[in-house]
């Protein structure tokens, strides 16, 4: 019953986007269990069979996708599972297929400069700041991914970690700032 309602809500959302919001492109099979809100003037494209949900018992339960500037591009692949994820882009965010994201933030800008005026950041461009997330990556709860990060395929990011440098494929990453551990190596001594 719950799945059927989620499927109907997804179809209604896709229809709404077709008529009123031309910058959003969503393929078939979207399921919305909790709220999905998409804002901004940039291009947003989501692949087929995606799931939008929130973590049970949490206070924040909706997925937000924001393409701030008109040249922003956000692409999400097929079979993505978004649990209370927050994605914001000024330039470009690309996410691959079979991705699991739980209650974490992905942003490719700082929104303000460190100057006293707190104006727009000067030294940011598309090549420097774009985020690439590979196929079948899973990102844990309460983690953050900052600008200019590329995450390889099959990587696992532990809950509560803050990723500032790019991650090799197939590695387990944790901590603040995030670092990798090899297999069989213990974390604490």
């Amino acid at each position: 019953m719950r799945d059927v309602i989620a499927g109907i809500r997804g179809r209604l959302f896709i229809l709404m986007c077709k008529f009123f919001r031309r910058n959003i492109k969503i393929k078939e099979g979207l399921k919305i269990y909790k709220r999905l809100s998409i804002g901004g003037k940039g291009m947003v494209s989501i692949g087929s069979n995606c799931i939008v949900d929130g973590i049970r018992g949490d206070s924040i339960q909706h997925v937000t996708i924001d393409a701030y500037s008109p040249e922003a591009v956000i692409t999400i692949g097929n079979n993505a599972q978004l649990y209370a994820a927050r994605i914001a882009a000024k330039f470009q965010v690309t996410i691959g297929n079979n991705v699991l994201i739980e209650e974490s933030g992905i942003t490719d800008t700082d929104f303000h400069s460190i100057d006293r005026s707190r104006g727009n950041p000067v030294d940011e461009n598309r090549d420097k700041c774009q985020i690439n997330i590979g196929n079948s990556v899973s990102i844990g709860a309460r983690s953050l991914i900052t600008k200019g990060v590329a995450i390889g395929d099959n990587a696992v990011i532990a809950p509560g970690s803050i990723v500032t440098t790019s991650v090799k494929p197939g590695s387990l990453v944790f901590g603040n700032p995030a670092r990798t551990i090899m297999q069989g190596q213990s974390v604490s001594e």
């Binding site: 973590i55 739980e102 509560g160 970690s161 387990l172 974390v187």
Partner: protein
Amino acid sequence: MFYRKALNNIKISIQDPLYFFQSLTAFLRGFLYIIYYNFFTRNVKIGFPFKAYAPVRIIGPGSVSIGKDCSVYKNVFRGLTIVTSSCDAVVNIGRKCALGGLTIRCSKRVEIGDCVMTATSLIQDSFFVNYDKTMSIPINKPIPEPKEISIGNNVWLSMGSILLRGCNIGSDSVISAGSWCFDATIKDYFLAIGNPVKKALPIEKLQRLKGIS
């Protein structure tokens, strides 16, 4: 002894009527929570004097038991939330705990001792909460399986700390703000610092260095 305690309470209530009113509402709210969870839901047991200053939310099929004399304080406008994801999940909380802003996401077993003090911290014994739903997607990578968490008596979990799977924390120890534990064993009366926690410091040594006996 009892009369002296009652007299003291009456004195406090005359001096500060707002405190008296708040504690009374918390006691009544806690009593309603006890009636609701003990009689209308299965597998949840709460001991009798239970003060709820903030909302309490217990969801899921697993069994939860909270001891006597516990209280839930407001911490960054959040109360206590316990979510159990499977039928085998067990959450045991001891007596006289001050639980404010704590969230527990349990899929196997979480044991918490007596007199534990918490702030807005997270206890999660699995790596991903919605891991069962992802089984439809082919995953061939080593995600660590859920493991038991045990916390001793008189532990202080301070703000923003995260305890993940396989944590063993001894009694009287302190987890500092913003620290992050994963597969860590911390001995009795130690201070854990860092994200991630690599080395815990003995509190007796720290006090001797600072000149506090």
